[in-house]
């Protein structure tokens, strides 16, 4: 009987079985999709969308093209070796007159001024002094008379470069690079070359905070993982308490503690250890202290969970096999906490990379991190292209780190073989 029914099932074509499986699975997949759909839509509009928009703005360059369309078109065929021909001058004159009428001169002037300091004046003075469309063949001379800058090649290459629709200008600027008159990529002039230093500073501060968090967090996590539950739960509350407090409140608390008339300086002076108040805040020290304090739970929690998974039997086994405590720790315990160290360090480092409020409040001018400049360009100078380029580079660095970490952890799992 059993044999007969099996043969019967086999006799049916395999395709129908596969299709039936698919049909059965489809209902479940649809249900699963329906469950995550609200969040998916929410993330699409509030997270993925804005990020894509920001990345787009880093290469988007259509302002000059919109304001000076004829000029951009006329320069398209220009080889950039000499001054452009009369047609380009005529196109520019006509564009400027049209833009003056539309009141859009400032838009192009702002963008061109990023690339060539003083371009705003060139454009506005030209717009002011250009009375009418120059006669046929006289555009070059007319414009040259109004502003001598029109007789220079750099003025025209700047317009051509800004002609869009896509540009590498902002991304190059964010790396302290620019293009010279001939279009070659060169180092930006020293007064504009600040971002590499800011990126370096951001990474150095983040790295210092990560190392500090690891050094302070490791013993605490070990204690948490080894204490009996009743006491470790109490200790865990102390770890989490600052976690539940507002970032702003905690940062301000550090200002109260560390300022020159603050608790720490007053106590040290009262104890006679110092005569003059120490400078503990509005410098790198203050930034590192406050950021370490804020980020410590992000280190302790992954460390704790990785340590909690290490059976005490391993250390006992190591001891019974003849390993002194330090050897057992270094060769047996520490390697097993590596995934936790990696996760905690990456978490702290990535969070630290994007820090804005804490360095802004407790740091000096030389301690501002990349987020400060992103905020500055977004809110103060409205240079969204540069802000987006800086953001894109930060995002890229973070993604690369996450990728590297993912590889490391994957390797760990393949070879580490969590015990049954």
């Amino acid at each position: 009987m059993t044999t007969a029914s099996v043969t019967g099932a086999d006799a049916k074509p395999a395709v129908s079985l596969r299709r039936r499986l698919k049909q059965a699975e489809r209902a479940r997949q649809l249900k699963a999709l329906a469950l995550v759909a609200p969040l998916l839509v929410f993330l699409l509009f509030t997270f993925a969308g804005p990020i894509a928009g920001m990345l787009w703005r880093a290469v988007d360059d259509r302002e000059v093209r919109q304001v000076l369309p004829q000029t951009v078109a006329a320069l398209a065929g220009w080889d950039g070796k000499d001054l452009p021909n009369e047609d380009a001058f005529a196109a520019l004159a006509s564009d400027i007159l049209a833009a003056r009428a539309a009141g859009t001169i400032a838009i192009a002037a702002k963008r061109l001024n990023y690339a060539l300091n003083g371009f705003r004046t060139i454009l506005t003075s030209t717009a002011r002094n250009l009375k009418a469309v120059p006669e046929r063949g006289a555009a070059k001379e007319t414009l040259g008379k109004i502003n001598a800058a029109w007789r220079e090649r750099a003025t025209w290459t700047t317009i051509k470069d800004a002609g869009g629709p896509l540009t590498g200008f902002y991304l190059l600027s964010a790396l302290d690079l620019t293009r010279n008159v001939d279009g070659a990529i060169i180092a930006a002039p020293p007064d504009q070359a600040i971002y590499r230093e800011v990126f370096t500073r951001t990474f150095v501060i983040s790295l210092s905070v990560t190392v500090l968090c690891l050094m302070l967090g490791f013993p605490v996590a070990y204690l948490l993982a080894t204490l009996p539950p009743a006491r470790s739960n109490l200790l865990m509350i102390f770890v989490l308490l600052p976690f539940w407090t507002s970032l702003l409140v905690r940062t301000c608390a550090w200002i109260v503690l560390l300022q020159s008339k603050g608790v720490v300086n007053d106590s040290l002076q009262w104890l006679g250890i110092i005569d003059q108040p120490l400078r503990l805040i509005y410098n790198r020290f203050g930034v590192c202290v406050a950021m370490t304090h804020v980020l410590l739970p992000f280190m302790i929690l992954p460390l704790y969970s990785s340590m909690k998974a290490i059976s005490p039997a391993y250390m006992r086994a190591a001891a019974s096999l003849g390993a002194p405590p330090v050897t057992a720790f270094l060769r047996i315990y520490l390697p097993q906490t590596l995934p936790g160290i990696g996760a905690g360090s990456l978490l702290v480092f990535i969070l630290a990379l994007g820090y804005y409020i804490t360095p802004a409040l407790v740091g000096g001018a030389a301690d501002q991190m990349i987020s400060y400049f992103i905020a500055l360009y977004t809110t103060e100078t409205a240079n969204w292209g540069l802000a987006s380029a800086l953001g894109a580079l930060l995002l890229l660095a973070t993604l690369l780190l996450a990728l590297v970490y993912g590889k490391l952890v994957q390797g760990q799992q393949v070879t580490g073989g969590i015990k049954n």
């Binding site: 006992r316 086994a317 019974s320 003849g322 390993a323 060769r331 097993q336 070879t415 073989g417 015990k419």
Partner: protein, 370 residues
């Protein structure tokens, strides 16, 4: 029977007046005196909470005795840290280091002793050959089956030639068939290598299979230390009789006692039987009788039988178990009185039938009341 047997050779391990309490109120181990001879396989057997694992942990150095002293090869070791004791240990869940390969796991005790590279390689190689796992040397523990992990743990505990090997319920996580196979392998290793093994288990059949001697623990006290057959045949009290092997219990009151035997009146007027007086205080004392299921015969109602122990019984149930059968009877108020029968013999017993059970006086032990 707290004290170990006196032997001409000095003991390798001596527990002397050991007490252990965790909370300062209850003793987990109450006054333990135990000698372990060199080269023997001794099992600490008992139910959970009987103190056997605590005893093992004190020997390994992971617990400190509250009182008393432990000697290893004549040296007191109470305050010696575990890594200096030179004792190999196999843990319940193997405790193989998950981030090291099999070869690195086995090499670990050698490398912490600063053994030369060539020597390590040679000894790890021979250890791997011993457990027949040369081809798996570069796997991680997580990629091995339970039985393979068990073998690696064993090799790791033996590779540095410790003077003593401790095993803490090492086979608990394995299935029955593999467990029985590993029991024989461990026993064989013990015999070929001449190592001293202290083995902890709660599984009495495991203890009987492997041990030279068994120390039966209960309630923090060693109830009896003896060879497996002696424990089975001559238990000193009801606990041991009950813990080792199957056992039928009948309670009663001692009527008369002579040198070897006593006459016991069963509770509830179930009749009187003659039993070996093992652990009875005298006439009038209450006692528990212990009879093994395989030492009992069932005779049909009315059939004649010689011997003094012949009790009426009612068949409750019969159970077929392949190589043998069990009859469950109601005898003198004990409704779970088991009798072991050859297979097929249970067919003739109908439920509710009235029969008689007989057993020899020397197979019936009068012990302390339960």
């Amino acid at each position: 029977m707290e004290a170990g047997m006196v032997t001409p050779e000095p003991a390798l391990v001596r527990f002397s007046g050991i007490q252990k309490t965790y909370d300062g109120e209850h003793l987990v181990v109450k006054n333990l005196d135990l000698d372990i001879r060199k080269g023997e396989f001794i099992t600490l057997l008992g139910p959970s909470g009987s103190g056997k694992t605590t005893t093992l942990m004190m020997l390994a150095g992971f617990e400190v005795p509250t009182q008393g002293e432990i000697y290893l090869a004549g040296r007191p070791i109470k305050n010696m840290p575990p890594h200096k004791r030179d004792i190999g240990m196999v843990f319940q869940n193997y405790a193989l280091f998950p981030h090291l390969t099999i070869a690195e796991n086995i090499a670990f005790p050698l490398s912490v002793r600063n053994t030369s590279k060539a020597d390590v390689q040679e000894r790890v190689g021979s250890a791997l050959r011993m457990i027949k796992m040369e081809t798996l040397a570069h796997r991680r523990p997580g990629q091995l089956s339970g039985g393979q992990q068990q073998r690696v743990a064993l090799a790791r505990a033996l590779v540095f030639n410790p003077q003593l090997v401790l095993m803490d319920e090492p086979l608990g996580a394995l299935d029955k068939r593999l467990r029985e196979q590993m029991q024989l392998e461990i026993k064989q290793l013990h015999e070929t290598m001449g190592i001293t093994v202290v083995y902890v288990t709660h599984d009495q059949s495991e203890a009987l299979t492997m041990s030279d001697r068994i120390a039966v623990f209960n309630d923090g006290i060693v109830q009896q230390i003896d060879k497996p057959d002696a424990l089975y045949e001559h238990p000193v009290n009801s606990f041991v009789a009950h813990f080792i092997g199957e056992n039928n219990v009948l309670s009663g009151t001692v009527e008369t006692v002579d040198k070897v035997y006593c006459r016991v009146a069963l509770a509830g007027g179930g009749g009187t039987v003659t039993a070996r007086a093992i652990n009875v205080s005298g006439a009038g004392a209450s006692t528990s009788l212990s009879v093994r299921p395989e030492r009992i015969a069932i005779v049909p109602d009315g059939a004649a039988s010689d011997g003094p122990n012949r009790l009426p019984a009612k068949v409750q149930n019969t159970i077929y178990l392949g190589d043998h059968a069990l009859a469950v009877l109601d005898v003198a108020g004990n409704a779970e009185f088991m009798v072991k029968l050859p297979p097929g013999a249970h067919d003739s017993l109908s439920h509710g039938a009235d029969v008689f059970v007989t057993f020899r006086p020397e197979d019936c032990l009068a012990l302390d009341p339960v």
